[in-house]
Symmetry: C2
Subunit: 232 residues, 2 copies
């Protein structure tokens, strides 16, 4: 499996490139609109064909490159059935997205948003904004729910093998990856804390809304193509 | 082998943590002074003991955390014999730095600076500012020499196996890694260019000096401890 981690410094967003080294089929997870040219150049230089774009959720802090990538490459845009109406394939818990001989297993991990998904592929877990490194996504907008997020993390992610590599949607401290075992032991919001204590902590936070919330959410419901579709 | 890539967003600097999973001995390559607490916390959380700090060169764009890390942990600071006088162990081409059962092989790769080293460990090559992803370090200060840099890259790095993973000292476009094969084919300064053309390109660049040059170089000659030592 070919794997690359990419970073958008303006929004501290991680994008992931995965590919089957035999068939050269490639997927991007959570591409950023402003980085589409960079990402397409890398796909081309590596001799890959982009066939899948996967979203972990409707983002509030950056605009997705999914729609432009679909237009440019014909890739299928995959996301939650609860998320953006623009996507090509809507998936839920237990679904499998095939990429050549690779399988990306879909886990529903709501709580940051109600459409949040994680994807598991060959020991690598892409957690979007559900589980971050030594942190979690916030739960105070887009139908976020702290109790639901705690359940998603503890029941669906922390039950995976300890050595599972965790690749989040963002990091703000310069960490690139973690593992399930590490987060169980050292995530200060989750280790040695009850569900109630987690909910109280999340409710007690006083955060300004994401800078791009008003722009990003409608744009991302249209896969970043700038003409928001009405939910049907 | 335990491996982590860490990033300092202010200076776009990569730091690398390597460890022998059996003995728990760990090394940091190119730590940044402002990130010492983050790095020590990670070392502790992973149950490691920091025994080596390796510098690829005397940096001009950030201050190293090496001296503070040595004071805090007793780690040996390793760098080129041509570099900072403060280091604990001075190495050159062909030397091996042992880390438990791991071996870091030293390659002299001057040209960005005259003390530039690369380190090779189990298929991962840490290139400092000699070879960057689709770029190279600059050659217009600190005894930089474009012809020498071209020789270092083409004779010592591009002769390694194509699948060797390249981990640079910086990236400014959000790339985390590359491979020797990729850089041979796609690095615009090196692929399908002669040595003379590379030298002419590097000489033709009109870049302002690094922002921290006047502060960082003397600080780094003292391993970041703020009391520059005179060269003996």
């Amino acid at each position: 499996m070919l794997f690359r981690q990419l970073f958008d410094a303006e929004t501290s967003t991680y994008t992931y490139l995965l590919a089957d080294e035999a068939t050269r089929e490639a997927a991007l997870i959570d591409p950023v609109l402003e980085q589409v040219e960079r990402d397409l150049r890398l796909v081309e230089e590596l001799g890959l064909k982009l066939t899948r774009v996967l979203e972990t959720h409707v983002h509030a802090d950056h605009v997705t490159g999914a729609g432009v990538l679909r237009e440019r490459t014909g890739a299928t845009v995959v996301a939650s059935a609860r998320g953006a109406p623009c996507v090509s394939r809507k998936v839920g818990h237990g679904d499998v997205v095939r990429l050549g001989g690779l399988e990306l297993h879909v886990l529903e991990t709501p709580g940051h948003t109600d459409d949040s998904l994680s994807y598991l592929c060959e020991g690598r877990l892409f957690t979007g904004d559900a589980l971050l490194i030594r942190g979690t996504g916030r739960t105070d907008f887009q139908n976020g729910d702290a109790g639901q997020l705690h359940d998603s993390i503890t029941r669906h992610l922390f039950t995976l093998p300890e050595e599972t590599a965790v690749y989040p949607g963002h990091d703000y401290a310069g960490h690139a990856m973690s593992t399930i075992g590490e987060e169980k032991r050292h995530n200060p919001r989750l280790a040695r804390r009850t569900r109630e204590s987690f909910i109280a902590f999340m409710k007690g936070r006083q955060l300004p809304p994401p800078k791009k919330l008003d722009v990003a959410v409608p744009a991302n419901r249209a896969c970043g193509l700038g003409k928001p579709l009405l939910q049907t």
